[in-house]
């Protein structure tokens, strides 16, 4: 695991020393501490920690206000609350404020160390997925098309999707579920869909139903192969697929999701095809 730089936020010198001692003894780098909102902002901007331990009761502020201030500076910084107060209501409030874990004082060394490791492992795993998935899905589409139709494709562009776009006619959606959830979406014109299905069947499709089944299965194979490759690269991802849903209609608009997705436009011998994939960092497991 890469170096983890930690800032300790607490208004008690004893608690700071106690937590610092545990972290020092377990190979973590304590880069600073703070006891007020202003100190928190200053030390986070200055030291750029990967993780902050956060007391809940602080003079003139509280742990949640400080957490929000930290995430305004950098939303990727993990916050673990260490507080003597712990009840359902405050834990729920902490979750809403994107706290990664909640520990009650007095804490013991093993509990803190394992919690930090789990919080950081989840972050690293997401980063791994983020780095890998675009290439893996593009490759799976290329391979799938090649195996099923003996043709090649070229990708002409790739971009992050942050606004809605109009469907070319037919959209296949496959939900992906595992350590992180997401979706794969394939969008193409009915003509392109028909050309692909005709090539797979080596004859004209008999009905719209057959056409949709073919494209559903085509997309399912691509998503299945891509997720298998990702799962092989890192078992902890545990990605599984929901069955495909196939939508078609007049001037259908596909909304941009609330999380980042990437689109790639593939030029095939059958026409243009849009591949869009993304995973939500979102609701990480609560620890």
């Amino acid at each position: 695991m890469k170096d983890i730089r930690i800032v300790i936020v607490d208004d008690s010198a004893f608690s700071i020393a106690f937590i610092r001692n545990i972290l020092d003894n377990n190979g973590f780098e304590v880069v600073g501490d703070a006891g007020s909102l202003e100190e928190v902002k200053a030390v986070v901007k200055d030291k750029k920690p990967t993780l902050v331990t956060m007391d809940m009761t602080l003079p003139g502020t509280d742990g949640l206000e400080c957490t929000r201030a930290i995430h305004e500076i950098d939303e990727n910084i993990k916050v673990i609350v260490i507080s003597s107060m712990m009840d359902d209501e405050i834990v729920n409030e902490a979750k809403k404020n994107k706290v990664s874990a909640y520990l009650q004082k007095p804490i013991d060394a093993d509990e803190l160390v394992s919690t930090i490791n789990r919080v950081m492992a989840s972050d690293e795993l997401y980063q791994f997925l983020e780095d890998e998935y675009v290439a893996v899905f593009k490759e799976a589409l290329m391979d799938g098309l090649n195996k099923m139709t003996k043709t090649l494709l070229t990708y002409k562009s790739e971009y992050a999707t942050d606004e809605q776009h109009e469907s070319a006619g037919m959209t296949i959606i496959i939900g992906i579920i595992g350590k992180f959830s997401g979706r794969m979406l394939v969008d193409l014109s009915k003509e392109t869909a028909n050309n692909i299905a005709t090539s797979i069947f080596k004859r004209e499709t008999k009905s719209n139903d057959e056409l949709m089944s073919a494209l559903g299965e085509f997309s399912n194979i691509i998503a299945g192969n891509a997720c298998s490759i990702l799962n092989r690269k890192n078992k902890a991802l545990g990605l599984r697929l929901a069955p495909p849903s196939i939508l078609s209609g007049d001037s259908v608009l596909i909304s941009a999701p609330t999380f980042k997705t990437t689109s790639a436009i593939a030029e095939t011998s059958f026409g243009e095809l849009l591949l869009n994939v993304g995973f939500k960092r979102g609701a990480e497991e609560w620890m």
């Binding site: 929901a242 196939i246 999701p257």
Partner: protein, 152 residues
């Protein structure tokens, strides 16, 4: 498809809607449809895996979607803009997540994917199983359709 798999969605709807500011949450008709579902307005697809595998397609006409977003945001929504879309997307996410919890209470463990939202007229939705159960629900008399399809 087992009709008892509808109950968690109904339970979720009757629990979640009042929390979002709706004063009534009523259950309308239960209709069995074949694979293809027609819809106009907003469609949100959420995938399901685990002890059950399938999809849920929420279908709401645009006017109703705007009214729902208005209630959720405590603000009148004239255009189905990004904020309104985000509210509807979050609503379907909450409804499916609460249904998943209700399923787990009867020993059926499922996980849900992120929602995908589309809008259009005369949208045909082909779902995974041969039978789709459609529950018509009303939140303060605003109609929402939940189409549920599980593989056998």
């Amino acid at each position: 498809m087992d009709v008892k798999h509808i109950n968690p969605f109904i339970e979720s709807f009757t629990n979640v809607m009042p929390e979002l500011g709706f004063s009534s949450a009523q259950i309308g008709n239960l209709i069995s449809k074949d694979k293809e579902v027609m819809s106009s307005g907003v469609v949100v697809i959420v995938g399901i895996v685990g002890a059950l595998r399938g999809n849920v397609a929420y279908s709401i006409d645009i006017e109703s979607a705007k009214q729902i977003a208005s209630t959720m945001m405590c603000d009148s929504v004239d255009e189905f803009d990004d904020n309104a879309m985000s509210a509807i997307s979050e609503l379907t996410n909450m409804l499916t997540a609460h249904a998943a919890t209700a399923f787990s209470n009867i020993g059926i463990i499922i996980d849900i994917s992120t929602p995908t939202m589309l809008q259009g007229e005369n949208v045909s939705i082909k779902m995974s199983s041969d039978q789709v159960l459609c529950v018509q629900l009303l939140a303060d008399d605003i109609p929402i359709e939940i189409n549920i399809s599980f593989e056998n």
